[in-house]
Amino acid sequence: MAQNRNKLIELFIGNLSNAVLHSMLEKAISNNELAGRYRQELITSLSIAKKYREKINPLHEPLPSKDKEYIKDKVIKKVKAGLAVRKAKGCKQPSQQAVGHYP
């Protein structure tokens, strides 16, 4: 089933934000050795995000600046929302200032 580009970008964003949120929550775990042991096997978000990216045109070139800005903004918003839910429940999470400060 062919999926339109906008739908693919939204799915790409959803998975990318899940992977970012995961790596941020990992920083809040006191015992990092324990948290990371099975990481390579179970992080599906990033591999699904890659699958979606492989379907979004242009396939072999970087996305246009407009798309990149849109994706970046939405990922930051989604990760902040994920952290906010946890903060509202009383979790002490890593600073939200850290969101979006990835190279």
């Binding site: 799915l11 899940n18 809040a28 015992n31 324990l34 699904i48 839910v85 009383g90 979790c91």
Partner: protein
């Protein structure tokens, strides 16, 4: 006549060089090559919740244990676990846990194991303390140890102490199924569902093993067999609706736990 020689590495084939000046061993004659070390009497490993295993797999398990024993000077235990121990040959790799409190060279051991067995190895090296902590706080460790073959007898008495932040992290791994149902294959869907229900059983203080999780999946999703998930023959609307409800309920439970834990501190 006997000659002691070393196997040397060649570009296409490895070889044993013989001196030109020798008595016997004429060119063209057939010889037997045998390892010099005396064969040790075979030690039997310990089986946990394994009713049967294919002989070829057992040979591989013993070979892995022998290689680790030779490579490491000391260790507490060697444990083989994961999908490799399930009937059939549908495994991706072999999960090998080496329990040791000494300094470890994980990458070189993994390389050596893969070179000698020609099978992909997922090697995890842990200290006894980390293993004990994992067993008391993490359902994945309990599931991992519920079905295993161990070099030495395993006796682990741990009290369950949920680490809610860790459970939050593990639960997040099951979230992609909600938005990506169509993009995932049956095995991936099963893996994510199993992860979610392992957390649920752990929180309910119930036994966490592959069999108990499969049973829970059947009950929660009202399916006859987990093969329905693995073979991707699910009723999407019905399954996904229930999945969202279960995910949300476990998430709230975990968040309450985090909240309670942070207040206690």
């Amino acid at each position: 006549m006997e000659i002691v020689a070393k196997i040397s590495k060649g570009s296409k084939m490895d070889q044993v060089y013989l001196p030109k000046k020798r008595n016997g061993f004429y060119t063209g004659s057939y010889v037997i090559l045998k390892p010099l070390e005396a064969e040790k009497p075979e030690e039997k490993p310990y089986f946990y919740n394994i009713t049967s295993i294919e002989p070829i797999k057992l040979r591989l398990v013993l070979e892995i244990m022998q290689i680790i024993e030779k490579e490491l000077q000391s260790y507490e235990n060697i444990i083989i676990t994961g999908s490799f121990l399930e009937p059939g040959f549908h495994f991706n790799d072999i999960d090998v846990l080496v329990i040791s409190n000494n300094g470890m060279h994980e990458s070189s051991l993994k390389k050596s194991l893969e070179e000698k067995t020609r099978v992909k190895i997922h090697l995890i090296m842990l200290s006894q303390a980390v293993l004990m902590q994992g067993l008391s706080t993490d359902p994945l460790y309990q599931m991992m140890m519920s079905k295993a073959i161990a070099k030495k007898r395993m006796i682990y008495h741990t009290q369950r102490k949920p680490d809610y932040k860790l459970l939050d992290l593990h639960l997040l791994k099951s979230r992609p199924l909600i938005a990506n149902f169509d993009a995932l294959n049956g095995e991936e869907k099963y893996g994510l569902t199993r992860n979610m229900l392992a957390i649920s059983l752990f929180l309910q203080n119930k036994k966490v093993s592959k069999a108990s999780i499969d049973n829970e999946i059947k009950q929660v999703f009202h399916i006859k067999d987990v093969m329905e998930i693995k073979q991707n023959t699910l009723n999407k609307k019905k399954f996904l609706g229930q999945y969202k409800r279960v995910y949300s309920s476990i998430f709230n439970h975990v968040m309450d736990g985090v909240n309670h834990g942070s207040k206690q501190k």
